[in-house]
């Protein structure tokens, strides 16, 4: 029991936060929100995956990646390729010059399915590809850079360049990838209609469970010795090396793990909205993911989720009433987080919540006729 409580939930604070999040996502939102808002929520929830990956990678590991969109895209495109192949059965594409291949390939005068599309006709392969290919890609990039001690700003810029390379590649090779419009018109998953409202409902809950699962696994990593080493690497890399640790391996591992999490988010995104395009791969979405994590709280797995939802719903709300104001607000908020409260909203909550709970407890005591002296006094400074 203690294992679950301490290692998977993160002690008292983590446990309450987790339960609260689970209740909100699984019960409150589905009951309170209409279908339209719920589908928006489902979409935003998939953005929370890369945001969480950045908590691990950047908040705890000190490794800023401006290219998590790469992995979000790899997962998303993997799923899209499978769904597209299914939607491009010879019956559906009978009017094409070459039936049986995706429509955009037909438009580009391609007459047979490229070899790297073939395996994606199998669902098990697609799932494996979504989990393994991003990790493999991350491993190559990570090994090449961390073993050479490339870090900090250089690493960030290189991840950005790789995101650009991937975007240009996808857009330029439109015959193979669907180009700038992406892969669209996805219809069924193993025969089951993914465009129906019911399907979207199901995908929402799948995303929720996956997200909660990711949080639990991440918590396990962070509460283990690995997590402490990660923090140590962030703050004093040299010292860790001189304590006998191969620092590069740790960085590579967390980078690969972050890649897989982001890829899962991308795959769920494709399922949820029914398409994938290069506008979710490049530098702008990648930096937005950083913004979600920064504002939610780069040291808080659950904070990152709230941050993602807050920013995205905020964008929607503002775009309706004050479109001009939104970017000003976000830019200003981002700058403020970086300069004044680096642990984001979660950090603010942690710092000031005990004021709130103290008031709450004091208020509560007015109504409970209990002599205050018999109540245990909560000592500040007990670490979590």
């Amino acid at each position: 029991m203690s294992f679950v409580y301490e290692k998977l939930m993160g002690g008292k604070q983590g446990f309450t936060g987790f339960i609260l999040l689970a209740v909100i996502l699984l019960l409150a939102f589905p009951l309170m929100l209409d279908e339209f808002r719920l589908s928006l929520l489902a979409k935003y929830l998939t953005y929370a995956f890369p945001a969480i990956s950045l908590v691990l990678l950047w908040g705890y590991g000190g490794i800023l990646s401006l290219g998590q969109g790469i992995f979000f895209g790899l997962g998303g495109y993997g799923m899209a390729m499978f769904l597209k192949l299914e939607a491009s059965s010879p019956e559906n594409t009978a009017i094409q010059s070459t039936p049986g291949i995706p429509d955009f390939m037909d438009w580009n005068q391609i007459t047979e399915l490229p070899w790297f599309w073939e395996p994606f006709s199998s669902f098990p392969f697609t799932i494996l590809a979504i989990l393994i290919l991003p990790a493999l890609f991350a491993y190559i990039i990570g090994a090449a850079m961390f073993k050479r001690r490339v870090g900090g700003v250089y690493f960030a810029i290189i991840t950005q360049v790789i995101a650009v390379i991937l975007t240009v590649l996808i857009v330029g090779q439109q015959g193979f990838t669907g180009g700038i419009n992406g892969i669209t018109d996805l219809r069924t998953l193993n025969g089951w209609d993914i465009t129906s409202d019911f399907a979207k409902y199901v995908f929402y809950f799948v995303s929720c469970f996956l997200l909660l699962g990711v949080i639990v696994i991440s918590r396990f990593i962070l509460t283990s010795k690995f997590g402490r080493i990660l923090l140590a690497i962030r703050d004093k890399e040299d010292r860790v090396r001189f304590s006998g640790y191969d620092v590069a391996n740790f960085k590579i591992f967390i980078f690969c793990f972050a890649a897989v999490i982001s890829a899962i988010g991308g795959a769920m995104f494709t399922l949820q909205v029914g398409f994938m395009s290069p506008s979710f791969v490049g530098i702008v979405p990648s930096i937005e993911m950083v913004i979600f994590a920064a504002i939610g709280g780069r040291m808080s797995l659950i904070g990152a989720v709230y941050g993602t939802l807050l920013i995205n719903f905020g964008k929607t709300a503002f775009s309706e009433s004050f479109p001009e104001l939104w970017l000003f607000l976000m830019g200003g908020l981002f700058i403020s987080v970086v300069m004044f409260f680096p642990n984001g909203l979660a950090g603010l909550w942690e710092d000031y919540s005990h004021h709130v709970t103290k008031r709450f407890v004091a208020f509560k005591n007015l109504f409970i006729k209990k002599a205050p002296a018999t109540e245990a006094v909560k000592v500040k400074g007990a670490s979590s």
Partner: protein, 307 residues
């Protein structure tokens, strides 16, 4: 290839070569400002592209003003536009350093993020002031058209103008940094901040002016680019990654490195473009850069400084 005569091939080569040099001058002009800021100060300014856009929008503004109120002045306004672009961008840079950058010198990752926030704000300002659509200033007559030394060679005048401007600016920067006393103070501050302060150099002021200078040069670049392409609120983000690559590849601390880097990248891309499609040429060039940087993270010309 056999469809062309030799002289035609020669002309094509000349024009392609010029295109390569033209790209070189564009990259260099963009990178000079950033090389100063990143190379000399170690500050990552993700809003550098937006400072270029400031220059471009300033040019557009002056063009519109001249066209509306002083049409007779049209042939002359462009030179003033460049100067004004420099001033406006430099002023904004000065203010940005004071309000934002100076608090973050010890934290390069945070500078990167904060300047991205700044770029978002600047983009929205452009949108609010000039609209979301792309704009282009009316160019003076002497910039339009092309130069034809012989019949088959067609060299665009605006390309030549950018080339000349880049040469002037580069020489100016070199002179400023290596021959003037102010440049000496900048280099001293970069190499040893504490000692520079101890001998009476106002390092804070040096930082502020250096940053402003870098932004001002970005402004000039932006003004120059109005001759090549139109400007929109997001134009800055188009340029920023390329610019960073040029600076990082050249070895952030070296101006000569920046020049060599811009040259090799431009030539590589142009030559590749001749053989394969434009987008793949870019992909291969960037890919090669990333590979090289993985093996030599300090870039081409980094000096080995004993910390």
């Amino acid at each position: 290839m056999s469809d062309y005569t030799y002289s035609e091939l020669g002309s094509i080569l000349a024009m392609q070569g010029f295109a390569g040099i033209s790209l070189f001058s564009v990259l260099l002009l963009m990178a000079l400002g950033l090389a100063i800021i990143f190379g000399q100060m170690g500050v990552i300014n993700m809003a550098h592209g937006e400072f270029m856009a400031v220059g471009a929008y300033t040019t557009y503004f002056l063009a519109t003003l001249t066209e509306t109120y002083f049409p007779a002045f049209m042939p002359f306004y462009f030179i003033f536009a460049i100067l004004l672009a420099f001033l406006v961008a430099a002023l904004l840079g000065y203010f940005a350093e004071f309000a934002l950058i100076r608090h973050l010198y010890k934290r390069p990752l945070d500078t990167l993020l904060a300047t991205w926030g700044l770029s978002l704000i600047m983009q929205q300002s452009f949108r609010s002031l000039f609209g979301a659509r792309e704009v282009s200033p009316t160019l003076p007559e002497w910039l339009l058209g092309s130069y034809q030394p012989i019949e088959s060679i067609d060299i665009p005048l605006n390309g030549m103008f950018v080339l000349a401007l880049t040469a002037v600016v580069t020489l100016g920067v070199f002179y400023l940094l290596f021959k003037s006393s102010w440049g000496l103070r900048v280099r001293a501050t970069t190499q040893n901040r504490v000692m520079s302060g101890a001998v009476g150099i106002n390092t804070k002021k040096v930082d502020r002016y250096t940053f402003a200078l870098g932004c001002g040069i970005a402004g000039i670049a932006g003004a120059a680019f109005t001759t090549i392409a139109s400007t929109g609120p997001t134009t800055g983000t188009l340029y920023i990654v390329d610019t960073f690559m040029v600076v990082v590849f050249g070895g952030a601390a070296s101006l000569v490195g920046t020049i060599a880097s811009a040259f090799s990248i431009a030539q590589a891309q142009s030559i590749l473009e001749f053989f394969i499609s434009g987008s793949m040429a870019k992909v291969y060039t960037l890919f090669a850069l990333v590979l090289i940087l993985m093996f030599k993270p300090e870039g081409l010309f980094a000096s080995k400084v004993r910390r």
